[in-house]
C-alpha cells in the first residue's frame, strides 16, 4: 500500500509580467487502488498540478509538499520521480524523431527496473498490450509520437502505462479529442491497469464523459488553483447536469 500525499501545494509559472501563481494551496491524498477524478474548468490549474508532480521545469514550487510514502518527491529529478513510481500520461506528448516506439519502451523499462527486461517475455508483453489497445503492429517501428494522430498518441500513453506499471498514474486529459471508440479503448486500458495492479489513479478531465467508462472513487472539483469541493461519484453526475457555473460564480464572488 502506497500513499501519494499533496499538502498545501503552491505553484507559479514565469510569465513576461513576472511570476504568476497558478496553484494556491492544493491538498490531496491518493492511496493505492484508488481512482480520483480531478475536474474543473479550463485554466483552473489541473494540468499544472499534473506537471508539477512530474517535475516539469516550467513550474516553480513556491510552497507545500508532495510525498510518496513519506519520500519528498519535490527533491527528486524528473527521472527519479518515475523510478519512484510516478507516471504522467500527457495531454500533448512530444515527438522524438528517429527513436522507435520499441526502442523507447525498452529503454524506459530498463531505466525503471534497473535492468533490461527478459527479451522474450518483454516482446510478447508489448505485442499483447498493443493488441489490447487495438494498435497496429507497425506502430512499434514508428518514431515516438511522430505523425501519430491524436488517438494514437493517447493509446501510446496508455500502452506505456500498462507496460511500465507505476504506483501512481496521473492522466492529464487523456479523454480530450478522442472519439467514442478511441475513448472506450483507452478507458479499457486504464481499467485493466486498475484491475491488475494496485495503482492509484489521478484522472484529470474537463468533461464527465470519460467517467462513464472509468468509475472514480472520489471526485474533486478544481477551481482557481485549489480544490473547491470533494465528494463521491455522485458529484460528477451533478457536474454533468449543472456544469461549473456554480463554482465559477463563487470563485468570482470570493
Amino acid at each position: 500500500m502506497s500513499t501519494l500525499e499533496i499538502r498545501d501545494l503552491h505553484v507559479s509559472v514565469e510569465t513576461k509580467e513576472g511570476a504568476k501563481p497558478i496553484l494556491r494551496g492544493v491538498d490531496l491524498t491518493i492511496k493505492s487502488g484508488e481512482t480520483h477524478a480531478i475536474m474543473g474548468p479550463n485554466g483552473s490549474g489541473k494540468s499544472t498540478l499534473a506537471y508539477s508532480i512530474a517535475g516539469h521545469p516550467k513550474y516553480e514550487i513556491t510552497g507545500g509538499s508532495v510525498t510518496l510514502d513519506g519520500e519528498d518527491v519535490l527533491e527528486m529529478s524528473v527521472d527519479e520521480r518515475a523510478v519512484a513510481g510516478l507516471f504522467l500520461a500527457m495531454q500533448y506528448p512530444v515527438e522524438v524523431p528517429g527513436v522507435s516506439v520499441t526502442n523507447f519502451l525498452r529503454t524506459a523499462k530498463t531505466a525503471l527496473d534497473g535492468q533490461a527486461p527478459p527479451l522474450r517475455t518483454w516482446t510478447k508483453d508489448v505485442r499483447e498490450a498493443m493488441e489490447r489497445l487495438r494498435m497496429d503492429p507497425s506502430f512499434a517501428s514508428r518514431s515516438v509520437n511522430e505523425g501519430f494522430s491524436g488517438g494514437e498518441k493517447k493509446r501510446h500513453e496508455i500502452l506505456q502505462l500498462e507496460l511500465l506499471q507505476p504506483k501512481f498514474a496521473i492522466l492529464d486529459e487523456t479523454d480530450s479529442g478522442l472519439d467514442v471508440d478511441a475513448l472506450r479503448v483507452v478507458s479499457e486500458g486504464v481499467n485493466r491497469v486498475r484491475e491488475t495492479t494496485d495503482a492509484g489513479v489521478m484522472l484529470i478531465t474537463h468533461y464527465t464523459r470519460i467517467l462513464r467508462y472509468i468509475k472514480p472513487d472520489f471526485v474533486h472539483v478544481f477551481v482557481d488553483g485549489k480544490i473547491a469541493e470533494e465528494g463521491g461519484p455522485e458529484l460528477a453526475e451533478r457536474l454533468e447536469e449543472e456544469g461549473y457555473d456554480r463554482f465559477l460564480t463563487a470563485a468570482q464572488a470570493g
Binding site: 521545469p57 527521472d79 518515475a82 512530444v94 522524438v96 524523431p97 527513436v99 529503454t107 524506459a108 511500465l164
Partner: protein, 408 residues
C-alpha cells in the same frame, strides 16, 4: 537567410513545386547575381585573395584559411593510400592528364590553388560495366599542419559501372584539395568522404561532380575533426535522366568551423537531386555553415529537386548558419523545394523521456541518435553506419552534463 540558435524551431520550409514563373528565386540575404554568373576558372589569378566580404567567403574565417590561397602550393604533404576493389584500377598521373579537370572548373580561390598546386593526381577508375565487389578505400593522411599541401583525386566511374568509394581524411594537415567525380552514362557510384582531421588542421575540399546521362551518384560528406573544414561539393548534370543524392553529417565542437557549401547545377532536363545535411553543434564557438545553392536552368525541364538542412544546437555558444537558395529559370519542373531549420536541444523531449525514468544523459543520447538515424541509414553502408554511430557517441561523451539544458 541566416539561421542561428535564436530562430524558431519551425525554421523555413518552402515548396516550389508549383512554381510557374521564371527568374531568380531565393530567400533572405542572397547575392545580387545569379549562381550561373559566378566566376569559375582554372587560373588562380582570376580570383582575388578573399577578404571575407565575398559571398562565398562571408561565413568563413578567412584568416585561418589564408595559407590555402597562396600560389604554388606544390607540397604533397598528405599521403594517399588506396585499397581498391579487384575490379578497380588506381593510377598516379601527371596533372596534364586529359582526364583531369573534366568535372568542372574551380569556383573559388582555394579551389583554384588546389588545382594549380597539385602536380599529380590519384585516379581511381571503375571500368565500364564493372561491378565493384567491395568498397574502394582511399586514405588521405596528413602528418603536419606546418606544411601547406595540395592534393587531387579523381574517381572516374565509367559507363554502367557500380561502385562505392570511401575517402578517409585523417592526421594533421593544412590542405587544399580537389576531388573530382565523373559518373559516365548509367554509372552508379557512391562517394563517402569522412573528415576526421586532428586538432589544428585546416582543410578546403573542392568536390566537383559531373553526372552523365541516367547516372546515379550518392555523395556523402561527414565532418567531425579539424579546426576549419570547408567542403564545397558542386554537382553538375551533363546528361538527362541523372540523379544525385547529396548527404551530409557534421558534429561541430567548441572552436570548430565546419562549412558545407553545395551547388547543384540542373543544366539539363529530367534530372533529380536530393540534398540532406544534418549537423549537431556543441560548445563555445562551434560554428556550422550550410549553403545550398540549386540552379534550375531555363532548359532543365522536368527537374525534381529538394534540399534540406537541419541543425541541432546542444549548448549555448554554438552557431549555425543555414542558407538554402533556389534559382528557377523555368516553370516546367516536376518539383522544387527546400527546408532549413535550426533547433535547440528540445527541453520538452528531454522532459518526456525523463518522465519515463530515462536518465538525462541517456535521454540526450537517444534524441541525438534519433536526429541522425535516418541520415546514417541513407548513407547505406553498414560498416560506415557503425563507425558513424560510434563517433557520435564519442562526441557526446565529451559534453559535460552541466552544459545541458542551458536554454531552460
Amino acid at each position: 537567410m541566416s539561421t542561428t540558435a535564436q530562430t524558431s524551431p519551425e525554421g523555413l520550409v518552402t515548396d516550389h513545386s508549383r512554381a510557374v514563373t521564371d527568374g531568380a528565386h531565393s530567400h533572405g540575404a542572397v547575392p545580387g547575381s545569379s549562381r550561373a554568373e559566378r566566376a569559375t576558372s582554372f587560373e588562380l589569378d582570376d580570383f582575388a585573395v578573399p577578404t571575407g566580404r565575398e559571398e562565398e567567403w562571408r561565413f568563413s574565417p578567412v584568416d585561418r584559411i589564408a595559407p590555402l590561397f597562396a600560389a604554388g602550393i606544390t607540397s604533397t604533404g598528405v599521403q594517399t593510400t588506396v585499397v581498391a576493389a579487384p575490379e578497380v584500377t588506381v593510377e598516379i598521373v601527371d596533372r596534364a592528364d586529359a582526364r583531369l579537370g573534366v568535372a568542372g572548373k574551380p569556383g573559388d580561390r582555394a579551389a583554384a590553388a588546389a588545382w594549380q598546386g597539385a602536380q599529380e593526381a590519384t585516379v581511381v577508375t571503375i571500368p565500364a560495366n564493372a561491378v565493384a565487389s567491395q568498397v574502394t578505400s582511399v586514405r588521405i593522411e596528413g602528418s603536419s599542419t606546418d606544411d601547406v599541401a595540395s592534393a587531387h583525386l579523381l574517381v572516374h566511374a565509367k559507363e554502367h559501372s557500380e561502385s562505392i568509394v570511401l575517402i578517409d581524411h585523417l592526421g594533421a594537415t593544412t590542405l587544399t584539395q580537389t576531388v573530382e567525380v565523373v559518373a559516365e552514362a548509367g554509372a552508379h557510384v557512391t562517394i563517402v568522404a569522412i573528415h576526421d582531421w586532428a586538432d589544428g588542421s585546416v582543410h578546403n575540399g573542392a568536390h566537383r561532380i559531373a553526372i552523365g546521362r541516367d547516372a546515379t551518384v550518392k555523395h556523402a560528406v561527414v565532418t567531425f575533426g579539424g579546426d576549419v573544414v570547408r567542403v564545397t561539393p558542386d554537382a553538375t548534370f551533363t546528361g538527362p535522366g541523372g540523379e544525385v543524392e547529396m548527404l551530409g553529417l557534421y558534429f561541430a565542437d567548441a572552436g570548430q568551423h565546419q562549412e558545407h557549401r553545395l551547388f547543384v547545377d540542373h543544366a539539363v532536363e529530367k534530372c533529380k537531386s536530393r540534398v540532406t545535411y544534418k549537423g549537431a553543434l556543441q560548445g563555445d564557438g562551434a560554428h556550422a555553415v550550410w549553403v545550398g545553392d540549386v540552379l534550375i536552368r531555363a532548359n532543365a525541364e522536368d527537374t525534381d529537386t529538394y534540399e534540406l538542412n537541419r541543425n541541432l544546437i546542444l549548448t549555448d555558444g554554438a552557431r549555425a548558419d543555414s542558407v538554402p537558395n533556389l534559382e528557377i529559370e523555368t516553370g516546367l519542373i516536376e518539383g522544387a523545394g527546400h527546408a532549413s531549420a535550426t533547433g535547440r536541444f528540445d527541453d520538452e523531449q528531454l522532459f518526456y523521456l525523463r518522465s519515463r525514468g530515462i536518465p538525462e544523459d541517456e535521454a540526450r543520447r537517444l534524441v541525438v541518435r534519433g536526429f541522425f538515424a535516418d541520415l546514417i541509414h541513407q548513407i547505406g553502408i553498414p560498416e560506415i553506419e557503425e563507425r558513424l554511430l560510434e563517433h557520435i557517441e564519442a562526441e557526446l561523451d565529451e559534453l559535460a552534463p552541466h552544459e545541458l539544458g542551458a536554454g531552460k
